[in-house]
């Protein structure tokens, strides 16, 4: 075998692998949309069929309204929005604040802070599940999306601090000094100068955490006990039970829960993937 044909053979294998994985990554989303528009009978007789599909948009109406006696998608959407907004606003503000002032501290204090947050990232969720439940129960907060949002502030904080900390390490100290000469206090400097200059990393950290919070299920199952307080991921699992005989509606629910995220991702994919690469070592 000559050198040239050997190179070509490995390129062919490489391209085949790349295309194969792309198909595996895309097909499920295409299927979700296709099956969301099929009637139950069609799903059972010919789930993969692309032709002779009788379009059945009623599935989306069913999913949006929810099964009789259950909650509709509108309720889940509102709860997810509350949880995510509270969590991301809080964790970005406190996270940026902590990360910035950690870089101004002495090296020993800085390392201690970083280590503490690193330990927090490895802490498995099952160790927090029962204590959180106990606390929420005692404070009568079971079923409050607002309270769950506050909890997610804490859960997102370590990632947030670690990623922004490595960004602020390279931040020019002249800026803070110039601000001090202009008579700005340390907190004023942070709010007026540091925050606006770190918009890029803050957006990518916010995105990564927003996707985590939007999809988190285990805590939400335990802490959002009232059906009307459930977020989309928990609602989706309820859906599976409620719509046991209406598979089309479940696929419509999956479409409503997933496709908007995919669209957001396609618009912001540079920011998100950059944030992942930035935070990969820490997460």
């Amino acid at each position: 075998m000559t050198r040239k044909t050997r190179v070509r053979a490995s390129t062919v294998v490489g391209h085949t692998g790349a295309i194969l994985w792309s198909v595996l990554a895309i097909i499920p989303f295409a299927l979700i949309i296709l099956l969301a528009f099929k009637s139950n009978t069609d799903i059972y007789t010919d789930p993969l069929g692309l032709f002779n599909v009788k379009w059945h948009p009623q599935n989306f109406v069913d999913a949006w309204k929810g099964a009789p006696g259950g909650q509709g998608f509108a309720v889940y959407l509102l709860n997810s929005a509350i949880v995510t907004t509270v969590a991301i606003t809080g964790c970005l503000l406190i996270g940026a604040f902590t990360a910035y002032f950690a870089t101004l501290a002495t090296p020993r204090v800085r390392m201690m802070v970083v280590r503490l947050f690193l330990v927090a990232t490895t802490l498995p969720l099952i160790m927090l599940l029962i204590p959180y439940y106990t606390a929420f129960n005692a404070l009568d907060l079971l079923g409050s999306p607002w309270a769950l949002g506050v909890l997610y502030i804490a859960l997102c904080l370590p990632t947030c601090v670690l990623i922004l900390h490595s960004f602020y390490l390279g931040f020019p100290s002249e800026l803070a000094e110039a601000a001090a000469i202009d008579g700005l206090g340390r907190i004023q400097t942070f709010v007026k100068i540091v925050l606006p200059l770190s918009k890029g990393p803050i957006v990518s950290v916010g995105m990564i955490n927003a996707f985590f919070v939007w999809g988190e299920t285990q805590l939400a199952i335990v802490l959002l006990q009232a059906p009307g307080s459930r977020t989309i991921p928990v609602g989706l699992l309820d859906f599976k039970g409620q719509f046991a005989s209406n598979t089309g509606a479940i696929f419509a629910g999956l479409t409503l829960a997933t496709i908007p995220l995919i669209i957001v991702y396609l618009v912001f994919n540079r920011t998100i993937t950059k944030g992942v690469a930035l935070g990969g070592v820490f997460r």
Binding site: G17, A18, P28, L118, I130, G215, F239, A257, V281
Partner: protein, 279 residues
């Protein structure tokens, strides 16, 4: 200035752990007074076959899924950093499964492997492999399906991180190797792999931890069944506490599983993050 962050850390991570340990020494049905019973829960946890099997399954899921998905992600990252055409497209597409909420992933795949209505079985039927196997209802295949789905969902994230590591390797190193006549494959094993080892060990460790904790996939696909065939540790804890109202035992099981994972995690961080933190 560091107070707010550190207070949150203490209140939401420190206090809960203390509370968990306290609960693990009691018998508590979830309401009323907890009764102190010493180490009974730990004795039960260590002697119970159910707990031992759940622990074993968690390790199998953690290690199995993490190794398989990291291997696939490394190969994909090597393809893209090796200058394959369509790099921008692959970067976007391969991350898609990581964007879908885990419970949506679970519900979708659970429906897709159903015997009559599932797309996977319809596809297998179309290529002549039969379409009647109930993958999730068969205790001997359910866990493999879950591992496969965890791999599908996890490759995208690992791929991006490993790719980030590979792109930091200076091009000149490869050029020098090419001049010396080293083949692409040879370069991958002698240059790329050794140089991205820190990133690689970190991502394998993280994936082990995440898969070990993979409650959502299992709960969404099988609820831990059939029987107990897919009951991993987090599912066991959830069942013990919230279905069987035995919070003390669930707390003890979480302490044991958590400690195990924490030891693995800290050891891995000491090995893997030296580059990231102590620079």
């Amino acid at each position: 200035m560091l107070a707010p962050g550190l207070i949150i850390l203490a209140v939401f991570f420190g206090l809960p752990i203390i509370d968990l340990v306290r609960t693990s020494f009691t018998q508590w049905p979830g309401i009323g007074e907890a009764r102190y019973i010493g180490i009974d829960n730990y004795v039960t946890a260590f002697t119970s076959p159910a707990v031992r099997e759940a622990l074993f399954r968690s390790v199998a899921l953690g290690v199995g899924a993490a190794l398989i998905l990291s291997a696939i992600a490394t190969v994909l990252a090597a393809l893209v950093s090796g200058g394959i055409r369509g790099k921008a497209f692959y970067r976007v597409v391969w991350f898609l499964p990581a964007i879908a909420p885990p419970s949506a992933v679970a519900v979708f795949w659970a429906l897709s492997v159903q015997p009559r209505s599932g797309a996977v079985n319809a596809f297998l039927g179309a290529i002549g492999l039969g379409r009647t196997h109930a993958w999730l209802a068969d205790p001997s295949t359910a866990m493999y399906v879950i591992i496969a789905v965890a791999v599908w969902a996890g490759v995208g994230f690992a791929f991006l991180v490993i790719l980030g590591g590979m792109e930091e390797v200076p091009v000149s190193v490869y050029e020098a190797a090419s001049i010396d006549g080293a083949s692409r494959i040879r370069q991958f094993f002698s240059i790329t792999l050794p140089l991205v080892r820190p990133v690689l060990s970190m991502i394998v460790l993280l994936e082990v931890i995440w898969a070990f904790n993979g409650f959502t996939l299992v709960w969404g696909m099988t609820l831990g069944g059939p029987g107990n065939a897919t009951t991993i540790l987090p599912v066991q804890v959830y069942k013990d506490a919230f279905l069987f109202a035995n919070f003390g035992l669930a707390a003890a099981v979480s302490v044991v599983g958590g400690l195990l994972l924490l030891v693995v995690g800290l050891a891995g961080q000491a090995l893997g993050s030296r580059k990231g933190v102590d620079e």
